[in-house]
């Protein structure tokens, strides 16, 4: 069997899809626009809910890839149909394949779009991804002047559930990530005060509610209200304002550091590929799947499959499941052809 499949995107979904397709006996071409595999998870320190190192998962995925043709630093520019097959154009070269799996993933919401939150303006307003990097490199959060923060506030739903920035959907993984990171700040800096400003805590997965309870036990303070704005105080501290909706009063706190829980946004470069394949994005801007309930890894285009967070916010488990499903669907498609 010499049939070939292109997997576009080398994050969790792309790696797992490639592994499964390779096992099924296909020639797999994996295209990754960055210079390394692993996607966003590669830059993460620890994963919810178990708080194992993200590198354990990423290394396992990388180690299970054997005969996949990996193309790093390769942006796919165009996909054309040709006699029931596809031509994938990337870096000036063209590769003929029999099926396509889109695993292009997402981008983190650009936090500067929510200008009133002060990201890119006030130095100690950072994103959840930047906090992960701090945990990876220092094991604790650090202010720009090198001091250790004593008061930290996590802001939920930044670029999620917000029609003002055209992100009306819930990104679903940020709630539990905030709770995980709040616990980690408390553990790294036991005398610090940690606040979470939330609207709803959507702890839908196994072990998530336990993590929430653990955060309560460790002394994280939960405030039910959405951040309205930040302003800078002396010494780079930040004043944040919200309504404490449970007491129906406006509330303010000064903190050393603000962590914005940035949501998952559709990737602009995916949109171009969709046009090439005559596919439509869904209402939220992610890839529209053929049937959300019954064919969640099919698209309306024959021979084009999807997996992972390019179809909407996903956690790693969702992406791995979708990757398995997509690989099987590719197999069914190519054996019936």
């Amino acid at each position: 069997m010499n049939k070939t499949v292109a997997v576009i995107g080398g994050g969790v979904a792309g790696l797992e899809t490639s592994i499964q397709l390779e096992k099924l006996g296909y020639n797999v071409y994996l295209f990754e626009k960055n210079s390394q595999l692993g996607g966003h998870a590669e830059k993460w320190d620890r994963l919810f809910p178990s708080r194992r190192h993200a590198s354990e998962v990423i290394d396992s995925l990388k180690n299970r890839i054997n005969n996949v043709q990996i193309n790093l630093a390769t942006q796919v520019n165009d996909i054309k149909r040709e006699n029931g097959a596809f031509l994938v154009d990337a870096n000036g070269k063209s590769q003929k394949v029999d099926a396509i799996v889109l695993t292009t993933g997402f981008e983190l919401f650009p936090a500067n779009k929510k200008e009133e939150y002060g990201y890119g303006i006030f130095e100690n307003v950072i994103t959840s991804a930047e906090l992960e990097s701090m945990f990876s490199s220092n094991g604790k959060p650090q202010m720009v002047d090198g001091n250790t923060p004593t008061k930290v506030a996590f802001i939920h739903c930044v670029g999620s559930r917000d029609e003002k920035v055209n992100r009306p959907y819930c990104s679903k993984v940020c709630c539990v990530t905030a709770v995980k990171q709040a616990i980690e700040v408390k553990e790294a800096l036991p005398s610090s005060e940690v606040y979470c400003l939330y609207m709803d805590l959507r702890m839908f997965g196994p072990g998530y509610e336990d993590l929430y309870k653990d955060a309560q036990v460790k002394g994280v303070t939960f405030i039910r209200g959405r951040l309205s704005e930040t302003s800078e105080l002396e010494g780079g501290r930040v004043l944040i304002k919200a309504e404490d909706t449970l007491s129906s009063k406006p509330l303010k706190i000064s903190v050393d550091m603000v962590i914005l829980m940035v949501g998952m946004s559709p990737l602009p470069s995916t949109e171009k590929l969709l046009k090439n394949l005559e596919l439509e994005p869904n209402n939220d801007g992610f890839i529209q799947v053929k049937d959300y309930h019954l064919e969640p890894t099919h698209t309306k285009a024959e021979g084009v499959f999807v997996a992972g967070a390019c179809t909407g916010p996903n956690n790693i488990t969702d992406s791995v499941n979708a990757a398995h499903s997509a690989a099987l669907e590719v197999h069914k498609y190519l054996t019936s052809k």
Binding site: A242, E243, T245, P250
Partner: protein
């Protein structure tokens, strides 16, 4: 009957079987975005009036939805119609129109 000095306490419960939801229905009819609130409190947090006086637009809407219209109508007087809440609302609720409709309801009561 001997008066022992005891009284029955007024019921302190939201009885949705008896709640008068006419104001909520009227506002929803004229301003359907009234239904879309997710109670995040962005409106009240940005509220200029709320900094100085006890006023929460979010709470006022909630009172209306639970049939506590008298309270809500009094509350609506505190708004200065500056419109900051409309700019902040993540569900694009037309907050100013809701205030206008509540005030209109006061005139007809």
């Amino acid at each position: 009957m001997v008066n022992f000095g005891y009284t029955i306490l007024p019921v302190h419960i939201l009885d949705l079987d008896k709640a008068d939801l006419n104001l909520a229905k009227a506002i929803t009819f004229d301003e359907p975005s009234f239904k879309l609130c997710i109670a995040c409190g962005s409106c009240s947090a940005t509220c200029t009036a709320g900094t100085f006086t006890k006023f929460s637009f979010r709470q006022m809407c909630h009172h209306i939805k639970r049939g506590e219209s008298t309270q809500a109508i009094d509350e609506s007087e505190k708004c200065m119609l500056c419109g900051k809440c409309t700019l902040a609302c993540p569900r694009n609720v037309n907050t100013r129109n809701i205030i206008r409709l509540v005030r209109k309801a006061k005139q007809t009561l």
